[in-house]
């Protein structure tokens, strides 16, 4: 199956700092999503972004499908941003299965 790599694996930020998380994938995709898994284990949808750029408050994401990567930007980080951020992609086999990356664990300290 398709390979999805995320970097960095761990990230510690001071509150108020900005960060960029990266997702690389090994093949063409039909769909790409970013999720935040909060400390209670819930998977929260952040972006559905097969291509282009989207913004939602302090978060934005860009996917360059032709170069097989996506970036998630977090600005002015807050302690509530802590958790694990996952990138997930849908390959083009038609099976409709999301392949998840290994995640970036973000810790925002006050």
């Amino acid at each position: 199956g398709i390979q999805v790599e995320q970097s960095p694996p761990d990230l510690i930020l001071q509150e108020g700092a900005n960060s960029t998380l990266r997702c690389n994938f090994s093949d063409s995709v039909n769909n790409l999503q970013w999720f935040h898994q909060n400390p209670w284990g819930q998977l929260i949808n952040l972006f559905y972004i097969p291509s282009g750029t989207k913004q939602n408050g302090r978060l934005s994401a860009t996917t360059v499908a032709t170069e097989r990567y996506s970036l998630l930007y977090i600005s002015s980080s807050q302690t509530t941003d802590s958790g694990v951020y996952f990138c997930a992609v849908l390959d083009q086999t038609g099976a409709n299965n999301l392949f998840f990356g290994t995640g970036t664990r973000l810790t925002v300290i006050p």
Binding site: N30, N31, Q33, F35, Q37, G41, Q42, L43, N45, Y48, V84, F86, A88, L90, G94, A95, N96, N97, L98, F99, F100, T102, G103, R105
Partner: protein, 111 residues
């Protein structure tokens, strides 16, 4: 008005037992999924199902079986539970290959 809901949220059971986890979605989606998250937080597809086709990840033991009474439900049955089945199981749904939404997860502990 929960979009994808799973029950129970926590499940503790002994080895060898048979258990089920229920999942319901009220989004009108045509495809439902089960994912397993292991202790290292890695999420892996187990099954995807729409009203026409069940796709099974070949690595899933046949002790696991999905059952769909209707388009809004996909339950997960597990027979002869083993210690290694302990994990968090997530149900999800989507409309075709568009955005997927996940339930809150079921933490299964086999003792």
């Amino acid at each position: 008005d929960t979009a994808v809901s799973q029950t129970p949220k926590y499940l503790v059971t002994q080895m060898g037992n048979d258990k089920s986890i229920k999942c319901e979605q009220n989004l009108g989606h045509d495809t439902m999924y089960w994912y397993k998250q292991d202790s290292k937080k890695f999420l892996k597809i187990m099954f995807s199902y729409n009203n026409k086709e069940l796709i099974i990840n070949e690595t899933v033991p046949n002790r696991f079986s999905p059952k769909s009474p209707d388009k809004a439900h996909l339950n997960l049955h597990i027979n002869s539970l083993e210690l290694g089945d302990s994990a968090v199981y997530f149900c999800a749904s989507s409309w075709r290959d568009t955005e997927a939404f996940f339930g809150q997860g079921t933490r299964l502990t086999v003792v």
